[in-house]
């Protein structure tokens, strides 16, 4: 019981740390590609991870209530920035179920800028997003 309580509390703490993370800059203008006023939550299965500069991209297959599959592309910060937030290049693996909190692309395509990524075990990591609310005083 205590262990479970502690685990839950530490997960909450990790989420808090992820949100509290320092403001992030990026090599491109966040507003040119994404819309901070359009938040999105994407839950699905990771199908591809491009752990590369200038931004890490990963792809998630999302199944809707009618069983239709949609492929989403999600942008994070640079590998160097992610490592500073606790990521390793194999933290997320193909086949993992993840929940992505972020912002939609302006052009309406199935792309999003990730703010946090929560893995199936409940571990939430900051995605080094240039659209982090803390960058918007």
């Amino acid at each position: 019981m205590t262990t479970r309580f502690l685990s839950s509390a530490l997960v909450a703490l990790a989420a808090l740390m992820a949100v509290w993370a320092a403001p992030v800059n990026a090599h491109h203008s966040f507003a040119a590609e994404f819309d901070a006023s359009k938040p999105v939550t994407i839950k699905g299965v990771v199908t591809q991870i491009d752990w590369k500069n200038p931004h890490v991209w990963f792809y998630v297959n999302v199944k809707d209530e009618e069983g239709r599959m949609t492929r989403w592309a999600c942008e994070m910060g640079a590998p160097h920035q992610l490592q500073g937030r606790g990521w390793l290049r194999d933290t997320m693996k193909i086949g993992d179920v993840v929940t992505v909190e972020g912002s939609l692309a302006r052009d309406g395509s199935k792309r999003a800028n990730a703010r946090t990524v929560t893995t199936a075990d409940g571990k939430a990591l900051g995605a080094a997003s240039s659209g982090d609310p803390t960058t918007r005083p």
Binding site: E33, H55, A78, H80
Partner: protein
């Protein structure tokens, strides 16, 4: 059940620690806790790098602006502001330059060459999120600025008293000569091309740009950057803007190859086939 209060106390202590860390960081940024003094070399020269035996690079504290523009599509971090920095409204733009700046903002800065992995001269070199390092080699009378953002480049500042060459071919970083004025490194640069934005806001310039940058390490953690812009091709008068860079202790530059998987241009303006070649600014 009897252990729950102990666990709760532990979690509460952790949360208090996080809160304290947040407050102390904010306090340091706002000057609450005194930073260590500016480091110097044995000959008295200011050390713009890490103290011996330590690591560190200069990074912008979030987004920084050469001139203050609270209406920018990407708002600056207040901790980066110089006291009494120039506002965008006060910048003496020529009409075409003001219109171009406005157009670049209206397009959410999506046409910026830096996002195409191009080198970025002037102030923009210091606005990369991944930091810069000053490598001062007095034996060669040169200071190098290593910059991993954009195309992973370096810039040379000649400290040997040479003049600017005549008939320079315009280039991204221009030709830089430097000197120490008391505690400040002063760098005079001419010979710029116009293939870059000198800040990420889209502040225009021409090949007539003559930039005088002043770098002052006011304490261990802060580097005041001031740029005097003299460009009769774009402005009606000279003007000075700047920002404060933050020391990131314990960190070093790293390999960053922007060209490896740069999907930003397509994300910002669409695929090549969808880009209008009729626009005044073709990205």
């Amino acid at each position: 059940m009897t252990e729950r209060p102990a666990a709760a106390r532990l979690v509460a202590a952790l949360l208090v620690s996080v809160a304290t860390l947040s407050i102390s960081t904010a306090a340091q940024r706002s000057g609450g806790a005194p930073a260590k003094p500016t480091p110097h070399w044995p000959d008295g020269r200011v050390n713009l790098g890490p103290p011996p035996g330590e690591k560190g690079i200069w990074t912008p504290p979030g987004i920084v602006q050469l001139s203050l523009n609270p209406k920018s599509v990407n708002r600056a971090s207040p901790t980066s502001h110089l006291p009494d920095n120039i506002t965008l409204e006060a910048v003496p733009f020529q009409p075409w330059a003001r219109a171009l700046h406005a157009a670049r903002q209206a397009d959410f800065e999506r046409d910026e060459p830096h996002t195409r992995c191009k080198a970025s001269g002037g102030p923009r070199e210091f606005i990369t999120p991944y930091g810069v390092e000053f490598v001062d080699i007095p034996e060669t009378k040169r200071i190098y600025i290593f910059d991993v953002g954009g195309p992973h480049t370096f810039r040379t500042i000649y400290m040997d008293g040479r003049p600017h060459p005549k008939d320079l071919d315009p280039s991204y970083y221009g030709h830089s000569v430097g000197r120490w004025e008391s505690e400040s490194l002063v760098v005079d640069t001419v010979g710029y091309n116009t293939k870059f934005w000198m800040d990420r806001e889209g502040t225009p310039h021409t090949e007539q740009l003559h930039l005088v940058e002043r770098f002052t390490r006011t304490d261990l953690n802060s580097l005041k950057y001031e740029a005097n812009v003299d460009d009769p091709g774009a402005y009606t008068a000279t003007w000075t803007g700047g920002f404060i860079l933050r020391w990131s202790p314990g960190t070093e530059l790293f390999e960053y190859i922007c060209q490896d998987n740069n999907r930003s241009p397509q994300g910002m303006v669409g695929a090549d086939a969808s880009v209008s070649r009729q626009r005044r600014i073709v990205p």
